[in-house]
Amino acid sequence: MAIGRGKVVAIMGLSGSGKTTILRLIGGQLSPSRGSISVDGQRIQHLSHRELFALRRRMGMLFQFGALFTDYTVFDNVAFPLREHTRLPEPMIRDLVMMKLNAVGLRGAAELKPEALSGGMARRVALARAIALDPMLIMYDEPFTGLDPISTGVIANLIRRLNDALGATSIVVTHDVEESFKIVDYIYFVSAGVIVAHGPPESLRRSAQPFVHQFVHGDTDGPVPFHYPAPGYADDLGLGRRP
């Protein structure tokens, strides 16, 4: 798998197929048992604690449910990375936070606590926090899960716009076909830990490969079975064993 600079790339697959694991490997929170991962020319698993943290300052990650700090306000959440990593004076931090919040349309919510936000708003705040240090790589873990169609559209739009505005690279882990096909440049399909197909959205939409076809069109029948592996139905009901 290779992800080019400046691109928005989606990693798609069924729940539990190892998509989030890929993000955790890239972020260095897990280390691979085989193979290797390079970000900006640096081998993740060979980095020291200090080097890894230096690299992470140039990465932003949006967690599935935002992972906002619940005892901080929206403002303090977005200010957190700036306060931890820079020695900027407070007025400048305030301006930067307001600019980031404005970019996600939530400047007016700066003084709210995370529990007062809807799911879509929380994720936008988390996105503002993820881009606080202008990262070169932004990772999104299931950004559309559990959102209404309007919020989904807003987030999808933001992913594309922020990527282009920041000159960053984005990796979106998702299983939302419609939204992601609209905004991404390239897609990798993973299943049970292996890449089964990849290509730009148009070619995958027309793909005749059974897994991709089933996934993109949401068919119930195909290479992914409806039933979880189980012993014979008749045996379970005690039918075959009668004398």
Binding site: G27, Q29, F53, A54, R56, R57, M59, G60, M61, F63, Q64, F65, A67, L68, F69, T70, F80, P81, E84, H85, A126, R129
Partner: protein, 264 residues
């Protein structure tokens, strides 16, 4: 029969292996909390916040319990001492019982149930909602930024709380013994002053409460960090914090007492 025995043995083996594994994880965790403490030195505000959260907010329960323990000690002590005609020794009895044992032990037990459970729940939920993971991905080390300050906050708060507990206890003993029952005030204080040794009694009591502070806070942090990210997981972790802390405090107290006070 053989199958049941086999299953029993397997379960014992499994429990032992799990226990040893967890002990190792806890030791490694404690080590990380200690070596990443540098940030606390550079930013004392982090630790001060935690002293407020664990220490100041535990004051009410410590003050009320200390006072009542002192009142009861005064009553019971007087009843017993009176039989031997040495009611004036009440001050010594109350003070020694408090600074040597009851102060450190009871305040550690209260600290575990008030602050330890809160720490476990906080860390457990921060982990379950990926707040610690998010912090890590923002290149902020949760050990340095969150766990170490809580640890030092607990370690600093605990001896202070124990001292306040003991002081209030002595005051409670005074209220019952001198003000209500009528033991001679001069005898009460002068006997206490003559018989309580600064190094032997008070310093040892402070050392005890410091050790309990380390133990309770580390247990609370580890249980929170180790909790499965579910509602049930966090709730079991909080229970385990209180139970394990209580047992560890009592066991440590026995060990420390047998080292400190055997020659006296």
């Amino acid at each position: 029969m053989i199958a049941a025995l086999d299953r029993g043995l397997r379960q014992i083996g499994h429990a032992v292996v799990e226990g040893v594994w967890k002990l190792g994880a806890a030791a490694r965790f404690s080590w990380l909390v200690l070596i990443r403490s540098g940030e606390c030195g550079r930013r004392p505000q982090l630790t001060l916040n935690e002293i407020y959260f664990t220490g100041t907010l535990s004051l009410i329960i410590i003050i009320v319990s200390g006072l009542f323990v002192g009142l009861v000690l005064g009553l019971q002590g007087y009843e017993t001492l009176k039989r031997y005609g040495s009611a004036e020794a009440l001050g010594t009895l109350v003070a020694l019982a408090l600074v040597r044992e009851l102060g450190p032990v009871v305040s550690a037990l209260l600290f575990a149930s008030r602050a330890g459970s809160a720490i476990t729940a906080k860390i457990g939920i921060m982990k379950a909602t990926e707040q610690l993971s998010a912090m890590e991905m923002m290149a902020v080390d949760p050990f340095a930024r969150v766990l170490s300050p809580i640890f030092w906050g607990g370690v600093i708060s605990m001896p202070l709380l124990a001292a306040i507990f003991s002081a209030l206890g002595v005051f409670g003993g005074y209220l019952i013994g001198v003000v209500i029952i009528g033991v001679d005030s001069g005898a009460f204080w002068s006997q206490m002053q003559a018989n309580v040794d600064l190094r032997e009694d008070i310093l040892n009591g402070v050392i005890k409460s410091g050790v309990f502070g380390v133990a309770v806070t580390l247990i609370a942090l580890f249980e929170g960090y180790d909790a499965p990210p579910t509602a049930e997981g966090v709730s079991y972790a909080v229970t385990r914090t209180v139970v394990t802390s209580a047992l560890v405090v009592l066991a440590l107290d026995f060990v420390l007492t047998s080292f400190m006070f055997t020659g006296v």
